[in-house]
Point group: none
Chain length 225, copies 2
DNA sequence: CCCGAACCTGAAAAAAGCCTGAACCTTTAC
DNA sequence: GTAAAGGTTCAGGCTTTTTTCAGGTTCGGG
């Protein structure tokens, strides 16, 4: 993890760096606003600690410009100003936390933990088999730039196949998982849906097919090219 | 957007609710810790405002248990305690921001904005999907120079769609987030509003549609040109 | 080579889900 | 208080999904 510290008080900057080091951050330090912004724009920091009053360029502007450049790293604003207006301005410039000096190091570290904790963000779930992809959040099956929408049962079936790789899946298994443990669905229902899926795979021109293994079931296979 | 306020000072709770309302949050209020936790566990909130000293169960425990249950909503901890130890404890329990009373409402709202701002989004009061824009402060949906005003429910729905990009959103989710998880709204209510929104999108001639995925829900889609 | 079991698939019926106009109710603004 | 805006309910009609069915094809063992 890398942190950028933009702070003109060199002693404080160094202390911050050491504190962060104790929680496994490598820190870079800038003593003025311009260089702070430049470094921040590189985009490879996981945290930015920003003073407000700085030579050359103030912390508000830096935060604003970083956000404008789509830099998403958490910004911790650190300042002696206690006015509510400053806090509001700081947070609205794009900062994620506003901490007023003086503060204890334990508090700062707790903030840092809170800010960096939520990194397990938007996980776009997707199953894939070769280049065939099943998007679990949009429910569509795609290969290259072609996409088809799957109905619910089609989706469940495909989901099962794609989670099983190349393993054979029996009709019984499919019926149990898709139609439910105790349903009166028959083998033919599965067959019909397999047929639907094959049509869609053909439409995608995907190099993948659903192969039949008589008396055993079905499985996904790559169709070599 | 829905907020859960857990605060035993009823007057303050009500004030908070009103403040949040002005930034388009529907709030549910709990006056004790136990019910606060229960409600929070429903997982339908986009923000939790938590007092620390509460009857039945303190804010630290609530935050900890919510996180344990994988509830990811931002937690704003709100308290009179100014001890560094309390702050550290609060943040480490899972809170995302620690605000000490007394505070001004403008500060609270700035925190809320900072907390609910999706990472990577720059302009705070506008969501966008392609060229379609939803102005969060005027509730206007616009495309190019055309604009329509959305009602509150229409707005909430659109807000959810636009924060979710192209992901499918189920009717249950929509009902829980727009009408509240213990409401008796039915699927048809959602359908009616989807219908309203479609009319407005059509009026805007926006290249965006609300697609139906039968048995899954709805999602935004670009209508290719 | 022949037969039956297993499988495929188009079509159509049945069921489930969805859309929407309109009437009616509730809240808000003045 | 009143009107307008917003919200809810309802019913009939429409669309898509799911099931059913029937005739055809494939496969493997005798």
């Amino acid at each position: 993890m890398r942190a950028l510290i933009v702070e003109d008080d060199k002693a404080l900057a160094r202390t911050l760096g050491e504190m962060l080091k104790s929680v496994h951050f490598e820190s870079d330090i800038c003593n003025d606003g311009e260089s702070g912004l430049d470094w921040g724009l590189s985009g490879d920091y996981d945290l930015v600690v920003l003073d407000i009053m700085l030579p050359m360029k103030d912390g508000f502007s830096i935060a604003r410009e970083l956000r404008k450049a789509k830099i998403a790293a958490p910004i911790l604003m650190l300042t002696a100003r206690t006015e509510t207006d400053d806090k509001v301005r700081g947070l609205d410039s794009g900062a994620d936390y506003y901490l007023t000096k003086p503060f204890e190091m334990s508090e700062l570290l707790a903030c840092v933990r809170a800010l960096t904790r939520r990194q397990g963000e938007v996980v776009m779930d997707e199953l894939s088999f070769g280049d065939l992809k099943l998007n679990l959040s949009t429910c569509d099956l795609s290969w290259g730039d072609k996409k088809v929408r799957l109905g619910k049962k089609e989706f469940s079936l495909m989901h099962i196949f794609m989670s099983n790789g190349e393993a054979v899946v029996s009709k019984d298994t499919l019926i149990n998982k898709v139609w439910g443990f105790e349903s009166d669905a028959e083998d033919n229902n599965v067959e019909v849906y397999i047929s639907f899926l094959r049509k869609k795979l053909a439409f995608l021109k995907a190099p993948v097919q659903i192969a039949t293994l008589r008396k055993f079931g079905y499985r996904l296979e790559r169709t070599d090219t």
